[in-house]
Each structure stands twice: as structure tokens, then as C-alpha cells.
């Protein structure tokens, strides 16, 4: 590994693998290391024996659970918005060529007053849903029509509101949207994890509402897609992209230290007695404990089931949102469900992951309302992760650190982090219109 590189990347999480793929296609020399023997870091999908090894070292999974390799269990539960930024990145890098297969998530659900409702996905479902009263439906419809027509570049569609200044709370008020309808739009459609957005400029929420509607319109049923064999496929395809363009990969490679020059700029990475010289380093927070700060915790409970979830129409995949107001919290609770259809589990098995941002000293009790909807649960793995973000932006030392994966249900914030790191690292604007690299295929 000793040699000179343009960039050394530490950790093979999704963010890092996208960056190394992009850099390699840009003809930069990339060395990518991971201390684990598998790809994906925190965003890996693990077979059952590796999941046991991680959470219950020394204990083997029961044979009744089926073959270990038939499980691909996500450590971080998320779905892709069908027209979201990660799908755009998949297309503009051309990694969709690598035989990736995506499936549509069957439905999106929301919890209200002890019951689970389907988030209406069609005009017919909006008309018949018991989630909203008759008057509420009209107000919501008027607001959504405004959102649909809103075009940043066309002031005629703005109806005299400057959404970079007017708050979302004020926009709701203008359209007469209140109470449960606000909960519904803000959490189930705009997918805000808290109510903080109400006092912030409305543009972000309007864009989120548009993204949901566009994603839903793409394929129907739900706005989410999910890769066969689990989310862990995503870092692997970007790693292959990087390798195909000449990048070097080393797994099971512990990093001893990061080397800096006299001016404090990074100049190398040392591992097992060798130093890879480089101009910049990119990596996940676990490789830079002194350069990151803790910004809260996320609890995730991975549940293995042998039945579909009745309250979500027995669908083989679903997303369920439990809005904070419904259960007296500040942050929403999410449940992501996949199954053997997505090859995340063997025939007849289902995986449901309950997650939220931790608010108390007893995080498992916080997600009980979600777990209760999944009973009976064959086995569960509870884990709480600290979330980190970099203290500095990398301009001083050329070290660019990603953020931990947040509790959100999709990859939009992850894609934003990728774009931000890419722009700081290259000094160039991220080009969303770049064409996929030429395929040297015969």
C-alpha cells in the first residue's frame, strides 16, 4: 500500500464509497481501506452469523432460522426515494449497470391514536381515507396544489410568498391546515423527524412535499425503492466502480495513524508499518475520534419475524411512521419492513427495524410502541449508536469526515453529505447533469 495517492478513503460506508467511485472516475488515484473484513461499515447488510458475531460474540444463530447467507440484514434501516438524490447519483455514475435490482416498497403507513393507517397514495385513497376529515381534506388538497404548481424560477406560482422567508407554520395557516393535518403532512409526507421545521423557512418543506409526490408518481404504491440483497449492495457497487477505474481496495486493514506535515496538512495514512502518501483523506467518524463531536444517539432494534405485520396490511415491505405528537415525544419513531422478497431474509422470514433518535436513559422503552406492533418477534437485536459530525470542514488539514447516518427514513441527508464532501474535496460544484462514464463494453 505504500505509494502515492491523490486521496485515501477510510471506511467503506456508502458515503465513502460514493466519494471514492466519483474520484476514481475523475482519474484520481484512490486507496480505500476498511478495518472490517466486510464492505459497508455502519451501512453494511450482514448475514445472520455475522450479525450474531457483532451483537452476541461467540453465540451461533439457531438452526431453525435457516441458512445464514440467506440473510442480508441492514444495520441502518433506510429506503431510497424513487426520484431522490441517491437514485440520481446511481444513474449519473452508471452503477445501475452492475446488475443492481430494485424493488418497490409496498406501502407507507402512519400511526394515529393507537391505529395504523395507510398513507393515501392515489386520488382515490385521499378521497376515502379516514385519516383526514372532509374539510381537512379540502384544505390539504389546496395546499398540495400550491406545492405542485410551485416553481422556484416562476414568481407567478409563488402567490406573493417568499418561501425563503415565510415559515412553514405560516404557510399552513394561510391554507387553513391545522392539527392532525399538519402532523400528517409534516411527518408522513414531508418526512420531518421533529416539529422544528414549523418555524423555519417553508422552501425546504415544500421541496420535501414535492419529492414525496414525484417519487410516488414514479411507480405508484409508495415513494420508496429498495435494492435486492439489502442496502449493503450500495457501497459495494460504488466500490466496484472505483476499482474498475483503477482504485485499490484493502479490507481488514487497521489504520494506525494519520500523518500530517509541518503545516498541519494531511500527507499520509499509516497501517501495519507502511505509509500511503496522499494529498487528502476522506473517512467516516470512527477513524477520526479527535476531529468529531457527538450530536446525539440513535436506537435501532432489528427484529426477525416469521410473519408479515398485520397492521400494515400484511405487506411484505412497508414503512410505518409513528409521529412524535402521537406518543408524546420530540422525534418520530420509524419502522422499516422488508422480507424474503427483497432477499434480506430466507423464504418465510421478515425483517423489521424500529428506530428513533434517543431522548431518555431508557431508549428501548421509547420504541416499545413500535415493537408492540410486530409481535410475536422471533429474535431482536437492540443497539444504540452515537451520532457524530466533523468539527471542521477540512479546509485546514484536507481531512474530510462524513456524518453518521441519521435516524431519517431515506438517503437524502446522506446524499447531501456526499455532495458537500465532494465539493469541499475537489473545489468544484457537484454536476448533477454529468453523464455516466463511457462504458468500455464490447
Amino acid at each position: 500500500m505504500d505509494g502515492e495517492y491523490d486521496v485515501v478513503v477510510l471506511g467503506t460506508g456508502l458515503t465513502e464509497c460514493i466519494i471514492s467511485g466519483l474520484m476514481s472516475v475523475n482519474q484520481k488515484k484512490v486507496l480505500h481501506l476498511d478495518r472490517n473484513q466486510y464492505y459497508g461499515g455502519e451501512s453494511a447488510s450482514l448475514p445472520l452469523d455475522q450479525l450474531y458475531e457483532k451483537f452476541r460474540t461467540g453465540i451461533k444463530p439457531p438452526e431453525s432460522f435457516g441458512r445464514s447467507r440467506d440473510y442480508n440484514i441492514d444495520l441502518i434501516p433506510k429506503f431510497l426515494m424513487a426520484t431522490g438524490k441517491l437514485v440520481k447519483i446511481l444513474r449519473l455514475t452508471g452503477v445501475t449497470r452492475y446488475n443492481m435490482k430494485f424493488l418497490l416498497i409496498d406501502g407507507s403507513y402512519v400511526y394515529r391514536k393507537g391505529k395504523v393507517y395507510k398513507v393515501p397514495a392515489t386520488a382515490m385513497e385521499v378521497a376515502t381515507t379516514s385519516l383526514l376529515g372532509m374539510f381537512e381534506k379540502r384544505y390539504v388538497k389546496n395546499l398540495l396544489t400550491y406545492v405542485h404548481n410551485y416553481d422556484v424560477n416562476d414568481p407567478k406560482t409563488h402567490e406573493n410568498m417568499d418561501l425563503t422567508k415565510v415559515t412553514m407554520g405560516e404557510v399552513y395557516k394561510k391554507y387553513g391546515v391545522s392539527g392532525d393535518s399538519i402532523d400528517f403532512l409534516g411527518h408522513s409526507v414531508a418526512l420531518h423527524p421533529t416539529d422544528d421545521y414549523l418555524n423555519k423557512p417553508a422552501l425546504d418543506t415544500v421541496n420535501r412535499l414535492k419529492l414525496y409526490a414525484d417519487s410516488l408518481a414514479q411507480y405508484g404504491k409508495s415513494p420508496y425503492v429498495y435494492p435486492e440483497y439489502g442496502l449493503g449492495e450500495l457501497p459495494q457497487v460504488f466500490a466496484r466502480l472505483c476499482a474498475v477505474y483503477g482504485g485499490t481496495y484493502m479490507l481488514e486493514k487497521p489504520v494506525a495513524r494519520i500523518v500530517y506535515d509541518d503545516e498541519g496538512k494531511v500527507c499520509g495514512v499509516e497501517s501495519q508499518g507502511e505509509v500511503a502518501k496522499c494529498k487528502a483523506v476522506v473517512g467516516d467518524p470512527s477513524y477520526f475520534t479527535e476531529k468529531v463531536r457527538k450530536v446525539g444517539q440513535t436506537i435501532r432494534v432489528i427484529c426477525i419475524l416469521n410473519h408479515p405485520v398485520a397492521s400494515c396490511d400484511n405487506n411484505k415491505s412497508f414503512q410505518l411512521i409513528i409521529p412524535q405528537n402521537q406518543v408524546g415525544r420530540k422525534h418520530d419513531i420509524y419502522v422499516c419492513g422488508t422480507s424474503f422478497v427483497h432477499k434480506s431474509a430466507p423464504e418465510g422470514k421478515y425483517i423489521a427495524i424500529v428506530s428513533t433518535t434517543v431522548e431518555t436513559n431508557n431508549p428501548e422503552a421509547e420504541v416499545k410502541v413500535g415493537l408492540d406492533l410486530l409481535n410475536p418477534i422471533l429474535d431482536r437485536f437492540v443497539y444504540v449508536l452515537d451520532n457524530y459530525e466533523p468539527i471542521e470542514d477540512g479546509s485546514k488539514d484536507n481531512v474530510f469526515i462524513s456524518k453518521s447516518y441519521d435516524a431519517s427514513t431515506h438517503f437524502e441527508s446522506c446524499a447531501d453529505d456526499v455532495v458537500s464532501i465532494y465539493e469541499r474535496l475537489t473545489g468544484e460544484k457537484f454536476d448533477w447533469s454529468r453523464a455516466p462514464p463511457e462504458q468500455a463494453e464490447e
Binding site: 473484513q37 464492505y39 447467507r69 424513487a82 426520484t83 437514485v87 440520481k88 446511481l90 444513474r91 452508471g94 445501475t96 449497470r97 452492475y98 446488475n99 443492481m100 435490482k101 430494485f102 424493488l103 418497490l104 408518481a217 414514479q218 411507480y219 425503492v225 435486492e228 440483497y229 449492495e233 459495494q236 457497487v237 466500490a239 466496484r240 476499482a243 474498475v244 477505474y245 483503477g246 485499490t248 481496495y249 484493502m250 479490507l251 481488514e252 486493514k253 455516466p436 462514464p437 463511457e438 462504458q439 468500455a440 463494453e441 464490447e442
Partner: protein, 206 residues
């Protein structure tokens, strides 16, 4: 490379190459696909995979041939590499016994991780260097027989047995149902770039 029955619709199969560095994996592919050989072959930059068709009676087999892109070094070949592979060629160098031992490990790995009905072929490459041979033909042949896999000694340099090994694999593949089912529209919802069929009319792709 051959005349192809124009009426036959090619059936696509993913084929992966495995084996230690420098045993001639890329050279075998380039000999098969382009009929070329270079003494100092650099890996093909930017190729997700190469394709080549093999006519076989009424059928036409189209191989999508995946090379390791160097990821076999440093224990970093990702599981997604074997996903959906219908066939694998595990390559060793007949002048390097260690590469044969490593090939056996790859066969084991494929039998553990790969498709249950994956067709595996063992290729003892560099057969033109038989004066420096370190792996006996009989030993490799007996190993292949015990494990129910195909075996040929090949030379990317002289082209010996290169087409033959791909044809032998093609004969063992199920013709009715390709294992790479990437064209099942039901499941593919992010279409390949340039493939507009799967997109809804009037909807731009991003």
C-alpha cells in the same frame, strides 16, 4: 467471432472470473472477446464487464464477463461480485503451485456463496509454459472430477482451449431460464441509462 443465427435471441448469462493476481484472468477474457494477447496486459480501465456471444445449435449464449478489477488482492472482493453469476472460471497459473491452492479456495468459496447451480470451470492457464510447470495435469484433473467442475488447461497467449472452455460452460448452462433475470421488468425499476422502455411516457428520468 462466429456466424450467429440472426433469428436466435441471445440468452444472457453473468460469468465471473476468479483467481490470484497475475494468473491471466484478464488475458483469457481479452483473448476470448477480442482475439488479442499482450505480454504485459494492464486491466481494462472502465469496463463494468465485457460481452461475447457463443452460438450453440439453435441457441445463442451471450456471456457478460466480469473481471475482478483487482479486488481479489487484499481480500477485498465484494459478495455483490458473484450475485446472479450463472458461471465462473477459476483461473490458476500452471507454473505457480500456490495459485492452484488459491484456486481451490475460490472453488470452495463459490460453492458456499455462489448460486446453488452455478457452473464452475477450472482453467490451468499459461499451458504454453509447460517446461516451467509446477502443477500436474493429473492432479488438477482429479481435483476437478472430485468436485464435479469443468477443467481445461488454457493459454491466453496461443489461444489454446480458450474458446473451448467458454463453449464447454455454455453447453452446461440451462437454456430455458437464464439465471441473470435482469430483464424481468417487474423487478427492475431503475432502468439502465439509455434504456427508456421502462420509463413512464412523459416522465423525464431525473
Amino acid at each position: 467471432m462466429n456466424d450467429i443465427n440472426p433469428s436466435a435471441k441471445p440468452v444472457s448469462f453473468k460469468l465471473v472470473l476468479l483467481g490470484e493476481s497475475a494468473v491471466g484472468k484478464s488475458s483469457l477474457v481479452l483473448r476470448f472477446v477480442r482475439g488479442q494477447f499482450f505480454e504485459y496486459q494492464e486491466s481494462t480501465i472502465g469496463a463494468a464487464f465485457l460481452t461475447q456471444t457463443v452460438p450453440l445449435g439453435d441457441a445463442v449464449i451471450k456471456f457478460e464477463i466480469w473481471d475482478t478489477a483487482g479486488q481479489e488482492r487484499y481480500k477485498s472482493l465484494a459478495p455483490m461480485y458473484y450475485r446472479g453469476a450463472a458461471a465462473a472460471i477459476v483461473v490458476y497459473d500452471i507454473t505457480n503451485y500456490d495459485s492452484f491452492l488459491r484456486a481451490k479456495q475460490w472453488v470452495k468459496e463459490l460453492q458456499r456463496q455462489g448460486n446453488t447451480n452455478i457452473v464452475i470451470a477450472l482453467a490451468g492457464n499459461k499451458s504454453d509454459l509447460s517446461d516451467k510447470r509446477k502443477v500436474d495435469f493429473s492432479e488438477a484433473s482429479a481435483y476437478a472430477e472430485d468436485n464435479g467442475i469443468l477443467f481445461l488447461e488454457t493459454s491466453a497467449k496461443t489461444a489454446q482451449n480458450v474458446n473451448e472452455i467458454f463453449v464447454a460452460i455454455a453447453r452446461k448452462l440451462p437454456k430455458d431460464r437464464p439465471i441473470t433475470d435482469k430483464n424481468e421488468i417487474d423487478n427492475i425499476i431503475i432502468p439502465k441509462v439509455g434504456d427508456t422502455r421502462a420509463e413512464k411516457p412523459g416522465k423525464g428520468c431525473c
